[in-house]
Symmetry: C3
Subunit: 245 residues, 3 copies
């Protein structure tokens, strides 16, 4: 099998993950920051998943139990969410739910960095971050790591791939990375292979972003076009426009 065949198969498998997401409509519990909440919820809904976002520690077991994946985002970390995170991860472990860690701005905040390192020991399925954040952390070999940017680099379990495409406009909209992490969590809810789930979620971001950028007049009009593109994305388009390397 050639590399080209591998990449084609990966794009086809990603399209199947998206199809399952839409068919199964899993609930994803998102512990995320205030700036990212609305876009994150709307992205999950556009993709076919269902978000919940409660972040009170007392409610974690009940909400994680009825969800199929968990997102832990450290942006704007406050004592309230900081207390809920370990409870949510404990519940996820007990129930066998996969979870994604998004260690927002650990390159700037020492206390948050130490917290993120402790969380990495609690076996997230996926770590999604940018290059500056990745430099601060040392994920274990069992954790799929996605470093996103102009190109996304995804690696784990002996596999590695790069996703190109997308659009620079995504850098001019707040919380696109945070929302991407939530979409990866949604894919994990329906796909047991964390490498494929991560590729699936990030490929949807890249392709829908590129489609939206074709019609957008700027970062304002980009957002509704992007959500429309996610909602309307079909398997053939996802495969045809995938830029894997």
């Amino acid at each position: 099998m050639t590399d080209h065949d591998d990449r084609s198969r990966l794009a086809r498998d990603a399209a199947r993950v998206l199809a399952r997401l839409r068919a199964e409509r899993p609930r994803v519990h998102c512990l995320t920051n205030f700036v990212a909440m609305q876009l994150t919820a709307n992205l999950l809904l556009a993709a076919g998943a269902v978000p919940s976002m409660t972040m009170d520690a007392r409610e974690m077991p009940a909400f994680v139990e009825t969800s199929r994946a968990l997102l832990v985002n450290l942006g704007m970390l406050d004592p309230w969410r900081e207390a809920a995170i370990p409870v949510a991860i404990e519940a996820a472990h007990g129930l066998g739910r996969p979870w994604v860690l998004d260690p927002v701005k650990v390159d700037r905040a020492p206390a948050r960095r130490a917290f993120a390192r402790r969380l990495l020991e609690r076996a997230p399925a996926v770590l999604r971050c940018n290059a500056a954040e990745a430099e601060m952390l040392e994920p274990g070999p069992g954790i799929v790591t996605a470093v996103t940017g102009a190109a996304d680099r995804i690696s784990g379990g002996g596999r590695a791939i790069e996703l190109a495409g997308g659009t620079m406009l995504m850098d001019r909209v707040t919380a696109m990375g945070c929302a991407a992490s939530a979409l990866v969590a949604a894919c994990l809810a329906v796909e047991p292979d964390p490498f494929l789930a991560t590729v699936s979620g990030l490929l949807v971001m890249k392709v829908a972003g590129a489609i939206a950028a074709e019609s957008a007049a700027g970062p304002g009009s980009f957002v509704p076009l992007f959500l429309d593109a996610v909602h309307g994305l079909d398997a053939a388009t996802l495969q045809r426009r995938a830029e894997l390397a």
Copy 2:
């Protein structure tokens, strides 16, 4: 009088409530969840009302005093808002301000359900929720209850009506139900009959949603079109497109 005449009259009365909302521009104090805040505020502004959203218990008396209706939404309930809610309701009672209860996700969270049941004893004018939430609660006969979904069922004081129409796209946008509850509160600010106020608010949602769906390419473009439709809705269109049963 025939049922048809009743329904026509109700739609005409709803159009008058919307006109009063725009003329009087009441302030509505909304204790709501973080995901819903921006859409809720923008919906109230588009409809003609003015939102305030402070949720610190210390500020409740001052903010409720200068508002004409109160929304209590339990989504993402945190200790901070939980402490403010009884203070706000007490202030609303003392000032004769009507209030709306939106018991978000009480079907999932036992502690929140118990809290909602206690709040129902504090005489909200309206309970707005979905079917799963409604099953968990037993509103007293004096409370107008609106169970929203593909069709909205509104009942109370011996009256009952169903609103059809709208669009499935509203299910793919976060916090549309939460925002609808706020719009009902805004209608209560200018209309003393809670049944009519509830019909008015939910009818605006349904008709504006249907109008927006005609031009929307997906859930992303739907939101700005929906807010434009609320802002531009005229009495004749509201009456002509009302689907009451």
Copy 3:
């Protein structure tokens, strides 16, 4: 030099501030309210700046240190942000970072008003508020004061100017004033004269608002058009459409 020449020069200088903002991409730390966060972050990104919004007191020194200006917005003031604000201002003073005070709704909330008065003694570079809020406060002569509304009045250091233009649609979108204060802070990050920085930020709001209003069908479609207009604004358009008096 005639007044007309003064105004032309001010518009030209404002265009240069916007150009520096885009070239330098300063980080602005925004302590702001939950309703305003998303629009504020997206406005800063559209204009060329980079937002951060963490509001935990423990993280203030690290985040203020890597930022070049600070926004302190009192909307929806909670104990958490209330504790972070003095720490952030202290850090800003120590590092020589300018800061903007937005005293949201001090006309309604007595405790918040007292807090705002104490903050005014900590030498903000700029006070940005509406007329009702301004009446409650007495900024010292060294503080540039911008009272925004149908026309914006900016004064300080013996200078004063009015900005007309914009659009009434901005009153129908939540948090436009809060976002404007953040944009003023972004301009302060690259322009040491607080009067010019304030004129620059508010002029971008007025001109981009007027451009967006030409195509908007209501307050919903206005927002993405406005962000696009900020992103695409060129120096010639800013100068030609400036309405200074």
